[in-house]
């Protein structure tokens, strides 16, 4: 299975990278952009008996390591891989 995890800064947290990128987009002519927030995308391949089990495990991974609850939020999706890699 693949878990596709997205970690984003909490709304209250200052995101200087996002601010800079927004300014960069404006310079390029994309003035319709009102906000940019920059996070991380993490792919985790794992073995699990069921999608439910995978969800539980990935949730624990996010809470314990992949996201810092003080400054980050997380969400993820689980996909079953069609043909597992050997």
């Amino acid at each position: 299975m693949i878990a596709r995890v997205v970690v984003t800064p909490k709304p209250l947290v200052n995101d200087p990278q996002g601010i800079t990128v927004k300014a960069g987009l404006a310079t390029l002519g994309f003035k319709e952009v009102s906000d940019v927030r920059i996070g991380k995308y993490i792919e985790v391949r794992l073995d699990a008996a069921s999608e439910h089990e995978a969800k539980q495990r990935v949730e624990a991974m996010c809470r314990q390591l992949l996201a810092n609850h003080v400054i980050e939020d997380f969400r993820f999706e689980i996909e079953t891989e069609a043909s597992p890699k050997r």
């Binding site: 209250l12 947290v13 200052n14 200087p16 990278q17 800079t20 390591l65 992949l66 810092n68 003080v70 400054i71």
Partner: protein, 234 residues
């Protein structure tokens, strides 16, 4: 006073802290390897600066799971002195021993420069040699030193007087122009409620000899060395 200096893979201020403790102060020094869950009877444990585990994922995120950190947590619970400098401060926050988190500098650049700090607590083991509201000169060297905590936590920190150091101008005014990284409330260092766990972004081990530009850092080391606090074994 026996100082312990924790070494993670990627730490490098350990040798600088060690130099100050051993060569400048002449106190007992013990390096503590991250894999050893043993504090070897140290009275003060320092988590020094560096890029523990390359700062991969987040600064301090992986380091805080090292075997030695469990002992550090227990030691802190018992009232032992724990001192996190730069990366060490980041690790303490990730480990939950201090509230809040350190984020990317607002300039998005790594910054190595001298800063002025207003000392707001001089009653701690770490700061007894400082006078009240003294302005000390200590260099910073980081890319992710901007302190963040949610409004409730921040409010609690201020009310409890847990802010120990704040970035200020040479005259002691806490102004935006003196803030090198965008830290909320110009916070450069905080202590836990009990007063035994200190985290600070600036590097006192880099200003403990006149020939390196200043000796204000030595005041902090001396304060700890002369502290009468000892760990009570329950």
């Amino acid at each position: 006073m026996k100082f312990g200096v924790v070494v993670f893979p990627g730490t490098w201020s350990d040798r600088d802290c060690g130099w100050v403790i051993d060569q400048v102060l002449g106190e007992q020094l013990q390096y503590l390897w991250h894999k050893d869950a043993d504090l070897k009877g140290c009275d003060c444990v320092i988590l020094p600066g560096g890029f523990a585990y390359g700062d991969h994922l987040r600064t301090g995120a992986i380091a805080r799971f090292a075997p030695v950190m469990e002992k550090v947590g227990e030691f802190a619970d018992r009232g032992g002195l724990v001192w996190g400098i730069c990366n060490g401060f980041q690790i303490l926050c990730e480990a939950g021993l201090l509230p809040g988190a350190l984020t990317r500098n607002s300039s998005l650049e790594f910054r190595c420069a001298w800063t002025n700090l207003l000392v707001e607590r001089n009653d701690l083991a770490f700061t007894k040699q400082c006078s009240d509201r003294e302005v000390i000169s200590v260099p910073i060297s980081h890319g992710e030193g901007s302190y963040f905590a949610d409004p409730a936590t921040l409010s609690r920190l201020e009310q409890n007087g847990q802010v120990v150091f704040r970035y200020c101008d040479p005259a002691g005014n806490v102004v935006a122009g003196a803030n090198p990284n965008g830290s909320l409330h110009n916070i450069a260092g905080i202590v836990n409620k009990r007063g035994n766990v200190l985290g600070m972004m600036p590097h006192p081990e880099r200003c403990s000899e006149a020939e390196l530009g200043g000796t204000d850092g030595l005041k902090l080391f001396r304060s700890v060395a002369e502290s009468a606090m000892r760990v009570l074994v329950s």
